[in-house]
Each structure stands twice: as structure tokens, then as C-alpha cells.
Amino acid sequence: MILVFAEQNNGIFKKATFEAIHYASKIAQSVGTNVCAVVLGEAANLSLLGNYGAQKVIHIADARLNNLEAKAYSKAISTIATQENAQYIIFSNNNTSKAVAPRVAARIKAGIVVGATSLPNAEGVVKKAVFAGKAFAFVKINSAVKVISLTPNSFGVETTEASAEVVSQSIDFAANDFAVKVESVNKVTGIVPLGEAELVVSGGRGLKGPENWGILENLASELGATLACSRPVADSHWRPHHEHVGQTGGTIRPNLYIAVGISGAIQHLAGVNSSKTIVVINKDAEAPFFKAADYGVLGDAFEIVPRLTEAFKKYKESHA
């Protein structure tokens, strides 16, 4: 069996979760087995996970699992993995899986690769980005059970009409499995989180001040893109910290990264250089970012960005 953790939030699954299920189904095909998705916490309509390649869904509808509790999540997932004889346990690499997947791996003594960008080969070797995207490593998992955390947006999603069989189960938790008390939650809704955004529009010091972000917001909304920023921008509190990408901020891998007024320091590139296509808009021809870009536009961002927004609008209308 290939087990996949299908993370949900208030019954909603993210695209990256579907991608992980699809990835699991590809492994299942190559080793000749099925996919079982584990859902933790209250949720409905789980047979739909069959659309993405799961044959079976094990649902642990314990309300205490509605919020992330690494210890309880790990216990639940490893219990199911053992019960279902899982050969692989698949996660989507994000803040949740970073708290849970290595714990599951240690619990059942399975080797883990975090941030995989390829399917495992027959020997259990997986590719992943290392040194802030400056290289890839091929990592062999030596244990019988293998844990893989997949980099979002590296594999894609395919859907079918199939539906999955849903089985409810309960786990015998101990009181100290829920030691962490959630005092408050503040979730940003309606925006694709940066870690899994396909399109990102990012601004730097070249925009001169927070009052000038309107042009980027317009571009992002025209494109359906998520906003990001460079470190100086976050440090000056022009933009919230969760938008900061780069070495000390988030690492992203969108299909399209549009950098406006960002010079491209190596620490910034460390967070974005795995983007499939990079567009750099800068008035300084010497900006190092141009060397890492696929497309460059030299000139004044305050004029170019509105023109680009207009061009996208025209493109959308003609392709509607």
C-alpha cells in the first residue's frame, strides 16, 4: 500500500494535497499496489479523493485533530501505516508536514526525503534540491518503509472520475498526545499561500515605499498571483513578514516569478531560484537579478508594471 497524508483545513483540501495523492498513485502503479489517503479531523465528501488517485480513504474524524498537533498526527499516521503495510508514506512538503513527517519516520524507523522533486526509482532513490537550489542531490532511502515529502508544484495533478472507498477509524490517543494547546488561530483566507502559488508578483526596495504597492496589487489580481516581497521590504514593515521570500523568508517554486525593483542578492535568489520562469523588471542594468532571469525589462517599474497589467488584461480578454 502507498499511504498519503491528505491534509485538510475545515474540510478544504489544497491543490498541493491532490498533487501528493497523484504522486502516490504513480508510485502505486509502478510497484503494483493501491493508494490509501489518511484524513485527520472533521471533514466530508472524502470519496472525492478518488478523483486524484486514492482507492481508499481512512478518516479519523476526531475533532481534536482539527488543529495541527504534531505528536497526535504522527501517532495516527504511523498507526495507519503499520496497519496498512505501507511501503511509502507521502506528504506534501509544507509547514504541517515538516512538523509531522520526520516524526512519523523516526517513530517507525523509516528513512525520509524532504522536498522531493522526482518519483523514487526502483532502488528508492529520490531527487531533491539542496544548497538553496544551487544543486540537486539523489538520496537513497535504505529502509523498507520510505517516507517522502514532495515539493509542491513539482509534479502536477491529474483527475479521473474514480471515487474512493471511505473507512472511518479511531485511534487510541493518550492525554499527553495533545499537550500543545491552541490559544488562537489567525488564518489568511482567500489567498493561495506562497509555498504553493503558481504565479507570484514580488516587490523590492525599488518601489520606494508601501504606498506604491497598488501597481503590484493590480498586476497580481489581474494574474491571480500571490504577492511576495524582498527582505528589506519586510524588515521596513512595508509588507507583512509572511510575504518575505529569500533565505530567511520563504522558499518558493512558482511557475512564474515576476520580480519588480529587486536587485537579486544571493540571499534573495536562494528563496526563488527554483521558479520555472523568472521575469525581472528593474531600472538598473547592472542588477544581478538579470543574470538569473529568463526575461528582463529595463526601465521604470512605475510605468512598466501598469503596462504589463494592461497587456495581461488584453491577453485574458482575447483568450476568454
Binding site: 504534531a70 543574470k291 528582463g296 525589462v297 488584453k314
Partner: protein
Amino acid sequence: MKILVCITKAPDTTTKVAFSDNDTKLNEAGIQWIINPYDEWYSLVRALELKEAGIASAVHMITVGKADAEPVIRKALALGGDEAVRIDADSNDSFYVATQIANYAKTNGYDLVLTGKESIDYHNASTGAMVAELLDMPYITHATKLDIAGGIATINREIEGGEETNSCALPLVVSCQKGMAEARIPNMRGIMAARTKPLNVVAASADESLTSIISYEMPVQKQGVKMIDENNMDELVKLLHEEAKVI
């Protein structure tokens, strides 16, 4: 309250990465090793602040590495802290490293174990979670704020798509990131003091590595930037659609 801070060395961000032995080994010639920034700026400095505030009684540091890790751990001692231990082993496998740390922590008894959110070389972000599992402790990741009062930790953490405030009784393992503390620079007094602080070397316990790196590969080089006229954004949009196929 005793704190154990996990430290790893990592190549400086500006280092050019190269490989040897048919791309199976990292070529260490010319690499400038630094304290993994998340370990230093956030977890170590916050531990020092907790000690300065009289909340922590001791700050110890641990690293799993060979003798070449010592300059980095001395630098960490120059920032502060009471003593350090180096587990004499070399491994890229998170489970192996976590087992070494957990064994040491078990014997020496800590109320709080801090790690950085991930290392900037292999990005496994796994050691803290595994140490927590091996010590059977709760684990809170991506902490941006950590306060402790009366044996209870109050923590802000980044979760998927937002932020949470948590509370949890010690003992506890926490991974730290930006927001937790401000970076410090060691001063001369710290550097002098670090020379005489205890740095104990402990033999590694026999444990398995559950993963091994087979080889490395450099990414495909970008073809070079294509410059687009600033007055022709339609051309850029066309290229993004037809050539890059990203819209």
C-alpha cells in the same frame, strides 16, 4: 530550566557549490563554513535572551560533526552560552543525527530543546521533529516568538496559511525562525571567553543512517536573459504564453 540548542554548520550562502569524485562528494575546498543561520540568529540568540532574563539557568549547545565543526561551535560559544558538546560523527542522515542528540539529551536532562527551522544546505527540517519523537516530547515548528513562565511556553508559530498562538508545558522541542530574536555579533570579550568554555567531545553511539546521498547534479543553466522592450509588454505576455508556457 536548562536549554539545549542544536547547532549545525552550513556553507555560507555566497559559497559556490562544486562536487568531486564523479559528483558523489561535496567539494569542500574553498567553502566558508558558518553556523546555520536559523540555529544562530533565532534559536541560540533566543536561548541567550532567556538566560539573561533569568528564565533559563543554563544554555548548552550540541553539534554532530567531526573536528572541522569546532570553529563553528566556538563561534557559537563566543555569542554566549555555558558549554558545548560535539558528538564525534559525520552524517547527512537526519535520523542518525537526531538519535545522537536525543541520546545526549536523555542522559543530561533538558527542559527545552531548540533547533533552527531547517539547515540551509540539505533543507531536511527534520532533526527537531525526530528529536521530539525520540524523547517523546511535544514539538512546535516555525516559532516566531517564545516566552516561558511558570514552566509553560507560550509560542507564536507560522502554520499553513496563517499564524497560531500555542501554549505547552515543558519539556518541549521548538524549531525557530525569523522574528524570534535579532541577530547578534560576538564581541571581543565573548570571543576570549569562548576559548576557555568547555567543548566536550563525545563518541557517537552506533546507530543507523536510514538514507544516503548517492550523487549530486547541477541544475540546467538558464539560457540567458531575453530582454524585452519596456514599451512592448504585449511581447512579454506572448512569450510567457507561447514560449515559457506559464500562463
